[in-house]
Each structure stands twice: as structure tokens, then as C-alpha cells.
Amino acid sequence: MILGILSLQPLTWPTVATALALGGVYALMAVGIGLVFGVLRLVNFAYGQLIMAGGYALAYGSLWNFATWQSILLCFGVVLVLTVLMDRLVFRPLRTSSPTVMLVATFAVAFLLQNIALLKFGPLSKNVGSLAQLNAPWDIFGVQIKEIAVLAVVTALGCLFILQLLLTRTPLGLHMRAAAMDFRTARLLGVRANRVIGAAVIISGLLAATSAVFLSVQENSISSTFGLQDTIIVLAGVVVGGMNRPIPATLGGFSIGFATGILGGVLPADKTQYLTSFIFAAVIVVLLVRPNGLFTRGGGAVERV
């Protein structure tokens, strides 16, 4: 059997905790990508580079001996500024272009930012210094669980809860949902396009910065490709979950993060380089079986004439 050949490691509680944490972070990234897709119909491939920028901010914060909270603040500032610039300089001017043009544009932005990072910060990776202390284990009922894993799960749940409240309980949230369904009609009713897009972009930036903090602590080594693979995996998760609905996209992001975490824990050390291959093989299988996404109901409500 294939499992015998792989000689899997036993599944342990710390692995499950790490997987839950990765699932939580990927869920946040999925929401960040999904919100912008909802209102702009744009898949932002440069999302990973926002996270990379956040990672560098944390690394430089530690280099400059910033306190942890100052580093985190710097990370949020850098990511938000970059997000808003991306929106103003690229997304909005191209808003009425074809989806292909927008897609190619976000690819271009992604490579541009990655290369700027390479030129500016060099090929050697940097670490996030004092933040790495969050990897210290906590003793929870006799099980050693990394502090960062607990923080990630709690933060992800908190963010998703607040976001759910925003989307379902406030006028802005209602406008955002309507814009994602039918932007033209929403505008005809008085929904302000700029406000809705601005809100989606800002929230997506906040989620990117949050994800950057957790991924930086987990990986503790920031290079120009930081966040790239995570973003590709999350995009796969979003597609698997169902792209155009927030909850399926979130579940997709969580599932693929959880699966990645579990596989990372049970694969023997010399096989972990196959991890992404396994994940993408699973993605292909899911898409073959459920082309509309794993978590979408068939059809949905049909509009009557």
C-alpha cells in the first residue's frame, strides 16, 4: 500500500493544533481574496506579495529592535498602504476591463513586487526575531501546543465572527453582499460603488496583514517568495470551496489549510517536499467530482419569471 511506502508518522495532538491554526489563517486569506473577487470580479494573485511585504515589515521591525506590538503595527501599516495603492493604481483603473486583463495585471503586480523585494532586500531570508518566541509550547491538558497555534485559531474565529456580523447586520455589509451579487442593480438603488469597493479592499488588506503575522511566526524566515505558495494553495482552496460565495470560499480555505497541516505532520521528513503535489492532486480530484465546488449547494434559488 501507498501509505506503507510513505511510512506515515502517527497523527498527534500538536499536529492537529498546527493544522487547525493553518486552516484558520488560510480561511482568513480566502476571505480576503473572496471579498475583493465579490465586488471587483478580480482574482488578486498579488495577495501573497501583500503578505510578503507584511513579513518584511515584521523582520525589519525586529531588526530595528521594535517592540512586538510596534512590529505588528508596522506590518499592518505597510500592508494597508500597499493594498490601497494596488487598488487605486491598478484595480480601479482596470475595473471595467475584461477579466483576463485584470488577471494578467495582478500577475504583473505580483512579479513586480516580488522582484522589488529581491532587489531591495537581497536573496537571503530574514527572520522575525522576538516574534518567534510565540512558537513556544503551552501545556494544555498535558499536550504541548504552540502558543501561536492557539492565537491563530482564536484570532481567525474572532475575525470571521466580526466579519459575519458586519456582512449580515450592517447597511455596509448588506451593500457589499448585494454588490457581489449584482453590482449594476445595487448602484441603481443608491449603493455607492467606491465605498463598497473601498471597504472590501481595506478588509482584505487587514486580513492579509493578520495572516502575515501568523505565517511569519510559523515560518520565521522571510524571503521574496514568502506567502507565494500559501496564496496558491489558498486560491486552490477557494476554487474547491466555491469561488463566488463567502462561506464556501472560507470553508475551502480552511479545509485546504487543515489538510496541508495534517499532511505536513504525518509525512516523514524526507517526503515533505511532495506535500504540495498531494494537495493539488486532491484539488483535481475534488474538482472532477464536484466542479461547482465542495461546499456549494446545487443550483441555488432559481429566479422566477
Partner: protein, 234 residues
């Protein structure tokens, strides 16, 4: 308040001239009908007023102020509400959420209670408030679309073929509601294909063909369908 004035309006999509030099006025407390065959330019006229179709000439004034070049959301927030062709209900949202979307057009302009008026005019919207809008019948969805427009407490109400695909009994409900809306002092511009009923209801009706105004009729002309037909064919 002088209502809505459209003067010499032209709309063009690339090579297609959808509206050519159309002029009309809708005063508060008045229903103006706009009828004509498929492709006559009726929807284009309404969308041009809303700022969501390309205007190539002429003017649109709201209470004397030009609104040409305004974005649709601005026009809506200045008090013009559209009930779009095909209703455009948000099927995945509840009835109440659809109605509250209409509040987006309210801005600080008014403190009237549009939601209450919508509920009063169409009681089913209160009864089915937490139901998913997509499962409503066509007639109920049309009532929701009109209620949603009224939620903004508009001065001007534009309706694009509200009777399309509805059973005669439901058409009666919709047209009766339009009378009440007029009596409440709104200016109503009603695009329809049901020519005779529209002419009977409206204070004046314009016949549009090929983007041009062909004929203007008063409600006393309702029985005189032959002249309408002649205008269509001209």
C-alpha cells in the same frame, strides 16, 4: 418642485442610436406613460436618466438642476428611483434585506419613512419579510421591486415594464398601487408594452418608436387604439 424634465435626449451605444432627441416632462402628482415596441429605446431612456446609459446629447433635469454626468448612485440618492426591467430582485437575500437595500437611495435628503409606505402599499412584503426573495412568485417579486424603490422615499419613480409576465389580477394590483403613488405626490414615468391600459392610467402617454417620439396621447384617447397602432407602424 418641478419634477423631471428630459430635453432633446440622445443615447447612443457605439453605432446604435437608441434614443434620438426625446423630450418629455413628468410633474409631481403625474403619471406619464412611455410606450413603444421592442427596441424602441424605452429602457435606454430610463437608464440615461439614471446615469447608467451613455448620453450623447440633450439634458436631464431634476427640479431644474441638470443631472447629466452623475453616477447612478448619485442620481438615486437625489431622489430618482428605478424599478428595473426584469425586476432585478436579489433572490438570495430576504424580502426585508431587499427592501433595506432600497434605503441606500435615501441619503440625508429625506426623513420620510419609505419602508412603512412600502409595507402599507404591499402588505405581503411585511407578511413575507424574512422569506428568501427568490422563492416569491413573479407578482410578489414585482411588488417587492416597487416597494424597494419606494423605500428610498423618492420624488421621481421610473418603472420599466412592471406588468411584464404578470397575471391580469396582479397587473390590477400593480396599476392600482401606481395610482396611489401618484396621489401621494410622486412623479411617475411608466414604461409599458400594455399600451391601452397605460394610456388609460397615465395623465399623458408618449409613443416611442426607433428612439423617436411619435405621438402623445391623453387618457381620453385610451379607447382609440387604432391611432396607436398606426403610430407604431409609421
Amino acid at each position: 418642485m418641478t419634477g423631471l424634465e428630459v430635453e432633446n435626449l440622445s443615447v447612443r451605444y457605439g453605432a446604435v442610436e437608441a434614443v434620438r432627441g426625446l423630450s418629455l416632462e413628468v410633474r409631481p402628482g403625474q403619471i406619464v406613460g412611455l410606450i413603444g415596441p421592442n427596441g424602441a429605446g424605452k429602457s435606454s431612456t430610463l437608464h440615461a436618466i439614471m446615469g447608467s446609459a451613455p448620453i450623447t446629447g440633450g439634458d436631464v433635469r431634476l427640479d431644474g438642476t441638470s443631472i447629466v454626468g452623475r453616477r447612478p448612485e448619485e442620481v438615486a440618492r437625489r431622489g430618482v428611483a428605478l424599478v428595473p426591467e426584469g425586476r432585478r430582485i436579489f433572490g438570495e437575500l430576504t424580502v426585508d434585506e431587499n427592501l433595506r437595500l432600497g434605503l441606500a437611495g435615501r441619503s440625508a435628503r429625506t426623513n420620510g419613512d419609505g419602508l412603512a409606505r412600502a409595507h402599507e402599499l404591499f402588505p405581503i412584503l411585511r407578511e413575507f419579510r424574512s422569506r428568501q426573495a427568490g422563492v416569491l412568485s413573479g407578482g410578489q417579486q414585482q411588488q417587492l421591486a416597487i416597494g424597494r424603490a419606494l423605500a428610498a422615499d423618492p420624488e421621481i419613480l421610473l418603472l420599466d415594464e412592471p406588468s411584464l409576465g404578470l397575471a391580469p389580477k396582479i397587473v390590477d394590483i400593480v396599476f392600482e398601487a401606481l395610482t396611489q403613488i401618484r396621489d401621494a405626490g410622486l412623479a411617475v414615468l411608466l414604461v409599458e408594452q400594455r399600451a391601452q391600459r397605460t394610456v388609460a392610467l397615465a395623465d399623458v402617454s408618449h409613443v416611442l418608436a426607433n428612439g423617436e417620439l411619435r405621438l402623445t396621447l391623453g387618457s381620453k384617447d385610451a379607447a382609440d387604439t387604432e391611432r396607436l397602432v398606426a403610430a407604431y407602424l409609421a
